[in-house]
């Protein structure tokens, strides 16, 4: 625990970006998320930690309604983004997902060129006015994902030909290209080697300037390194939520403590 470099904890009074109230998720009869309420702040990195199968991914996928694509999945309760209920009948999940980007556990670039990977979102959402505008958007997204220098000479090469870490940063670029307000990341580094992980973590810290970032991670060091807020899930319950430094040094719940001390990494 001592060697963890805790990132800066200065969280000034910020407004709430995502507010979840009494969220329940069922997969058929399996009650996967039990009565979770949480406030996630803007321009903050929030980490979800917990033993595997506790519902971190499930809760994360509620925030952009990716669970809608699973037939047996049922979500109850309210999730508000900027005060608007995203499970309202009027909300189109496709529109929501343009606003809430997602990066998946396994890098999943489209089997298309690097350029087309990044340009896809802006294209389908009509964000660009013409070719040069789209070029700018692509370049900006790739720069923001800290991969521009590595790929600028081969934008027409297939995205699937990049290394794992580059692919994941390409996926991040693809997600930020649609100018989302929230970025969800489900164990984005679990398929990456330590060097690529370090690059992506650095990137996440920079992304905090513009987005509210929610990251699921199984590595507590990673949570400690990149996040300002941490939520600990256990068996579908949100056990503890607070400042990352506080959770790691001074957990209030015995379950949190045993998880943090019992299983490192």
């Amino acid at each position: 625990m001592n060697d963890m470099r805790l990132s800066e904890r200065a969280v000034d009074a910020q407004n709430i970006k995502i507010a979840a109230r009494n969220v329940q998720v069922y997969y058929g009869d399996n009650h996967a998320i039990k009565d979770v309420s949480v406030d996630i702040e803007d321009k903050t990195v929030t980490a979800f930690i917990g033993p595997s199968g506790c519902g971190k991914s499930t809760f994360l996928r509620c925030i952009n309604r990716m669970n809608d694509t699973i037939d047996i999945c049922r979500v109850e309760g309210d999730i508000l983004i900027d005060g608007e209920d995203i499970y309202d009948r009027e909300v189109d999940p496709v529109q929501l997902r343009a606003k809430v980007g997602m990066v998946f556990q396994k890098p999943n670039p489209f089997p298309k060129s690097i350029y087309d990977n990044v340009a896809y979102g802006p294209r389908i959402h009509g964000l660009s006015r013409g070719k040069s505008d789209l070029d700018d958007i692509v370049e900006r997204a790739l720069r923001r994902a800290a991969i521009w220098d590595e790929v600028k000479d081969r934008l027409s090469a297939p995205g699937t030909g990049l290394s794992g870490g580059q692919q994941q940063r390409l996926c991040i670029a693809r997600a930020v290209a649609t100018e989302p307000e929230v970025l969800l990341m489900d164990e984005p580094c679990s398929a990456l080697d330590p060097i690529a992980t370090a690059q992506v973590e650095e990137l996440i810290d920079e992304l905090r300037q513009n987005y509210s970032v929610v990251i699921v991670t199984h590595s507590m060091q990673q949570a400690a390194r990149v996040s300002q807020k941490t939520a600990f899930f256990h068996l579908g319950h949100l056990v503890e939520y607070g400042e990352t430094g506080h959770i790691f040094t001074n957990p209030e719940d015995p379950r949190t403590e045993s998880y943090i001390t019992g299983r490192i990494g």
Binding site: T69, R97, F110
Partner: protein, 451 residues
């Protein structure tokens, strides 16, 4: 429990050497060797069968691609062919093929006179009997097409009759024709003379590939061409109906439909349909398309509709398999950047599944191309000596046959010359099927999965 393991383990352990196989290992190795031998034997049997099949087909079928031709100079006297002398084709049509027949006999007579007599006293009419029955018609068509050739002597290439052709190909001999009133030994002697003289020879016959079927009496003139066109129009119908319907159904079932008992029932039924004998589709087509909807009998359109029904399950099953093989992470990725379900399917899933879909479609088409049974029921089997259709509508609606139906029809006829053509037709059909399957394999290779 105690007998084997305990006895062997502690006692034998110090003595066991890796250089010496124990009994158990030897038995295992022997079993493995035996199994490999069975496998190799099975494959060998398959290969031998394939070799026999190919050798037989090629051996019996290649003859159909060559035909015996007789070159003959025929005088075309105007006084018999154009009695009024005004070169009016309408008037000249009054002279039927019977009017042209004597010209052939005269031509042979002249030829014999020029080359110095004949050993036997074969009369010129009998000489002309070695020509195909289509020879007078060929003369007549030539004259009607261009009346200015009258009063000239023109060199023609006539098909020899199927007996003479059989003689050239070794199917007919002097012994085998004892009971045959279509040809005599004297005529064969005459044929030998013509061969020696160089006016009778066997060579490649394009008409077998492009021509139309001919009546029982003229096997030498029969060709696959028109039935090929019939098959082509049927495949056109199958492709334009089965591909879009099959792909749309598969996409809906695989990507959009909720998974419940209704879709389960549909799924099971599609698999069952794929196993339904094709003749069932044939009788369905007869009942629905012909008896109920009153579409024309023997029309490639109806054949195509029936084959569409038959091919749909194959296309749906292979399309669904290739949609399933596209990893879900691609769909997630598309949905994650805010693509709609349809956008994710059409922009990402479908292009990745396309090679598989095309492969399945081509294999389905190949199946349909070789299908005969359903055609029996909608009247596409039988003698259809039509000319090639002159428009797409007539191609779809005029009575026609299909390649396998044509082959079946020839195999049914008594004359061994037709039997040879049936084998030749098999070769043409196989060339099509092998080509289609090769394209399918190449497509699969070319677009190996790229993720």
């Amino acid at each position: 429990m105690t007998d084997m393991t305990n006895a062997a383990a502690p006692a034998a352990a110090p003595k066991s050497s890796l250089l010496q196989q124990d009994a158990r290992t030897r038995r295992r190795n022997a079993a493995e060797t035996r199994f490999k031998a069975y496998g190799i034997a099975a494959i060998a049997v398959g290969l031998v069968m394939l070799a026999i099949l190919l050798v037989t087909i090629v051996g019996r079928g290649t003859g159909a691609f060559t035909q015996t031709f007789i070159t003959l100079e025929v005088a075309l006297p105007a006084d018999t062919l154009d009695k009024k002398g005004n070169r009016d084709p309408e008037e000249m049509k009054k002279v039927s093929t019977f009017g042209y027949k004597p010209l052939l006999a005269q031509a042979f007579e002249a030829k014999i006179a020029a080359t110095g007599g004949l050993d036997s006293d074969l009369d010129p009419k009998k000489m002309a009997g070695i020509l195909s029955d289509s020879a007078p018609a060929q003369l007549r068509d030539f004259v009607l097409a261009d009346p200015s050739v009258l009063d000239r002597t023109v060199a023609f290439e006539f098909l020899a009759s199927s007996r003479v052709d059989g003689y050239m190909k070794g199917r007919v001999s002097r012994d085998s024709i004892a009971q045959d009133k279509n040809i005599s030994v004297e005529q064969l002697d005459f044929v030998d003379k013509l061969i020696a003289e160089g006016s009778l020879e066997k060579r490649f016959n394009l008409d077998f590939i492009t021509g139309s079927d001919a009546s029982d009496a003229r096997p030498e003139a029969a060709g696959m061409g028109v039935s090929m066109v019939g098959s082509f129009f049927m495949m056109l119908v199958v492709l334009t109906l089965a591909l879009p319907i099959g792909v749309a159904a598969s996409i809906y079932l695989e990507e959009f439909a909720p998974k419940n008992w209704i879709t389960d029932v549909i799924e099971v039924n599609i698999s069952n349909l794929a196993a339904v004998p094709s003749i069932v589709f044939g009788i369905l087509g007869l009942a629905v398309f012909i008896n109920y909807m009153h579409l024309p009998n023997s029309a490639p359109l109806v054949g195509g509709l029936v084959l569409t029904l038959m091919t749909l399950p194959t296309i749906i099953i292979s399309t669904r398999a290739s949609l399933k093989s596209v990893p879900p992470s691609i769909r997630d990725a598309a949905l994650g950047v805010g693509a709609s379900k349809m956008q994710s399917v059409f922009h990402h899933v479908l292009p990745l599944a396309a090679p598989g879909i095309l492969t399945g479609t081509i294999i389905g088409l190949a199946q349909a191309l070789g299908e005969t049974a359903p055609l029996l029921l909608i009247g596409m089997v039988g003698f259809i000596a039509s000319n090639p259709p002159d428009s797409i509508a007539s191609g779809l609606l005029d009575p026609n046959s299909a390649m396998p139906a044509q082959i079946y029809e020839w195999a049914k006829r008594a004359d061994p010359a037709f039997y040879e053509r049936a084998w030749g037709g098999i070769i043409i059909l196989l060339v099509f099927l092998v080509t289609m399957n090769t394209i399918a394999v190449l497509l699969r290779r070319r677009f190996e999965r790229r993720w």
